[in-house]
Assembly symmetry: C2
Homo-oligomer: 121 residues x 2
DNA sequence: TTTGCATATTCGAGTGGGTGTATATAAAGA
DNA sequence: TCTTTATATACACCCACTCGAATATGCAAA
């Protein structure tokens, strides 16, 4: 029951929904990319990512200086369904398009160039 | 965006989830039945039902002295999906079984005997 | 119209969550 | 080691939310 309400309270914040939508689109993002896309202070983004991690919606891995967040892969069905609903909902918001546009202009950190030569970024 | 966060914050309360699960099971319930099933003060139930109505998850209709709550039928897809996820999640909680058991013992108000002679209740 | 039942609302108190600012930690490179 | 970049945390403040208790409203039957 507490798991359940944690999930939905994690989903009940606009900034966290924006983070989830971008990660759903890009698979994996680091904090500084999210800061660039959402144009919000870094501690704010970091705290919201923590909330999403504690709700078991995101997981993080550190790579050099960067911390990369992605969707958790061991969610119960209803949790994944709730997450999908949230992402689907925010995709219909104008904010999502703006965030995507800004994200595309954010310089990719070298660690995000998966499968390529890191110098190529 | 505000619609979206309203939905998820409406879903982020254990009492509201219990209400939604019972209504999903019984289609339509009045406040006094919910009070009996959840064993909580009537003003509390009433306030939570109001929150769910304002999030467009429930609708209410008055029949004599009773107010009957049921799922809204004009939800966007992602909203219905979120609601289904919430109900699915709470069904796996022990609390749900207890609520169902208590609900089955609550005396049905005459207005809930759909399609039958009301005296038969 | 008075009484009783069902539901909704108001009020004040208490609590948790979000935020900005500042600072701490972690890692890499000079 | 010192600096830079990236991320996390600490602290104080404020606001929204929840609650219990009391009261108001709506409806029907006597």
């Amino acid at each position: 029951m507490e798991n359940l309400t944690n999930i939905f309270s994690a989903l009940s914040d606009p900034i966290r929904l924006r983070i989830l939508a971008l990660i759903a689109k890009e698979t994996e993002l680091c904090v500084c990319e999210l800061v660039g896309a959402l144009q919000l202070p870094q501690p704010k983004i970091s705290r919201h990512c923590k909330v999403l991690s504690e709700a078991n919606l995101l997981v993080s891995r550190r790579e050099a200086q960067w911390v990369l967040y992605s969707q958790a892969d061991d969610m119960p069905d209803w949790s994944r369904q709730a997450l999908e609903a949230a992402v689907e909902g925010i995709k219909q918001d104008a904010q999502y398009a703006e965030d995507c546009a800004r994200l595309s202009k954010v310089e990719r950190p070298p660690v995000r160039c998966d499968g390529m030569e890191k110098q190529a970024c």
